[in-house]
């Protein structure tokens, strides 16, 4: 805290206002450290707003590990953490004019981080759902090695395929597992192309509901 205050040289007015975030009364050493760090960041942000590039670079570098930890704690997958941190930094940069140096920096940063984390979690869950539904059905074979970690296992998929009505199972077998064209499958089964499309769609919808629905519970 002192290092930043000496370096920053805030005005008497700013110094008085910034001390408000220190809190009063006896506090634990960790709390004091966190509070001091927040004041540091408040000062660095105020200096960044005034056009000090070095202060800005130092601030962004110092908040990055905190943001990584927060992303990890909130359930962002390891491969997405760096992207999320960069999203947060870009948002912070875009709306840095909204920061008021007389207010604590922590809640401002955390609110931005939470917003981007929620966005990322939504994208992540959507992507997982699509991957889980499509990988086994489009991979050509029902080989467990091709299925992503955490997705549906082979035995379960085979069991659910066996539960499908005969016509739907035949459509999936010919079109998805044996990769026949609609025309070939039509001549094999004697069904029309549109009928095969409907059967495949119903089978996939049912499998998705059963497999993903179960996974979500």
């Amino acid at each position: 805290m002192t290092r930043a205050r000496e370096g920053a040289g805030p005005t008497r007015h700013n110094e008085r206002r910034l001390r408000l975030v220190d809190g009063a009364g006896p506090v634990a050493a960790d709390d004091r450290d966190a509070s001091a760090r927040e004041v540091d960041w408040s000062i660095l942000m105020a200096r960044s707003q005034d056009g000090n590039g070095a202060a800005y670079e130092r601030l962004l570098t110092e908040v990055t590990p905190f943001l990584r930890a927060r992303c990890s704690r909130r359930g962002i997958g390891q491969p997405d953490i760096e992207d999320t941190v960069q999203d947060i930094l870009l948002t912070l940069h875009a709306i840095r004019a909204t920061y008021d140096p007389t207010r604590p920096f922590g809640p401002w940063l955390v609110a931005i981080a939470n917003r981007r984390i929620v966005d990322r979690l939504r994208r992540q869950s959507r992507r997982n759902a699509i991957n889980a539904a499509l990988i086994p059905l489009t991979s050509g074979t029902v080989d467990g090695t091709e299925i992503a970690e955490g997705a549906i296992d082979r035995a379960k998929l085979v069991a659910e395929l066996a539960q499908l009505p005969d016509a739907q199972r035949q459509a999936i077998q010919l079109l998805k597992l044996e990769e026949q064209t609609l025309r070939q499958a039509s001549s094999t089964t004697g069904r029309s192309i549109s009928s095969l499309k409907v059967l495949t769609h119903r089978a996939i919808t049912r499998l998705r509901r059963v497999l993903i629905g179960e996974e979500n519970h």
Binding site: E57, L90, I95, T98, D100, R123
Partner: protein, 214 residues
């Protein structure tokens, strides 16, 4: 792919002083002053309704006018507060009590006066005139709110947009009740809040489709 240290170096490489935003309530006051100024300018060009002195002594009229004004003022304050990341999201509920009062006292006359049948045949009714005033007041206020709140697009675009459109509706309703003999509240709310909701819904739909197609 850019690494995080590279991104930080890029962001910090062009240090330019930026102008800090004033506190949200102050910014809301600026927007409300623009609204008052606009209504004042229109009052110079457009005569006030002739029965206004009488109406100012009638409770139902005063109730509608005051609740619309309170809705506009509080919705503007809430929109500016929510456009800043570290303010409580509960501020979004601020305009709800006066809005409830306003909605309980509005009439729907403007929705029924689109055409008038008279000696000259079918002509445009008072609703058409209402619509012109509504656009004249609502458009500049909406534009001013968009400019002052554009940074919220990265934070909470739906809530801030709806609150801003509610603020525009409230202030437009105040203007209309001073100039027009029939109550246009339903038309105003439909026009402002409805169009914002449609745009937000469209954005959400297209965004979902776009992400699904990627």
């Amino acid at each position: 792919m850019t690494t995080t240290p590279e991104l930080i170096a890029t962001l910090a490489s062009h240090p330019t002083p930026i102008r800090r935003y004033r506190p949200p309530v102050q910014r809301a006051v600026v927007w409300l002053s623009v609204s008052a100024l606009l209504i004042g300018v229109i009052a110079i060009e457009h005569p006030l309704r002739p029965d206004l002195p009488t109406l100012l002594h009638q409770t139902p009229y005063l109730l509608t006018l005051c609740s619309a004004l309170a809705t506009g003022v509080l919705a503007a304050i809430a929109a500016f507060l929510l456009s800043v990341p570290d303010r409580s999201r509960l501020w979004g509920f601020l305009p709800l009590p006066p809005m409830g009062l306003w909605l309980s006292s509005v009439g729907y006359q403007c929705l029924t006066h689109w055409v008038a049948i008279g000696p000259k045949g079918i002509t445009l009714g008072q609703t058409a005139d209402c619509f012109a005033t509504l656009t004249l007041v609502g458009l500049p206020l909406g534009l001013a709110a968009s400019l002052m709140l554009h940074h919220a697009a990265r934070l909470d675009v739906a809530k801030v947009s709806l609150l801003a459109s509610l603020a525009v509706s409230g202030m437009t309703a105040v203007a209309m009740s001073l100039f027009h003999p029939i109550d246009a509240s339903v038309l105003i709310l439909t026009f402002n809040v409805g169009s914002t909701a449609v745009l937000l819904g469209l954005g959400l739909f297209l965004g979902t489709r776009f992400r699904r197609d990627r």
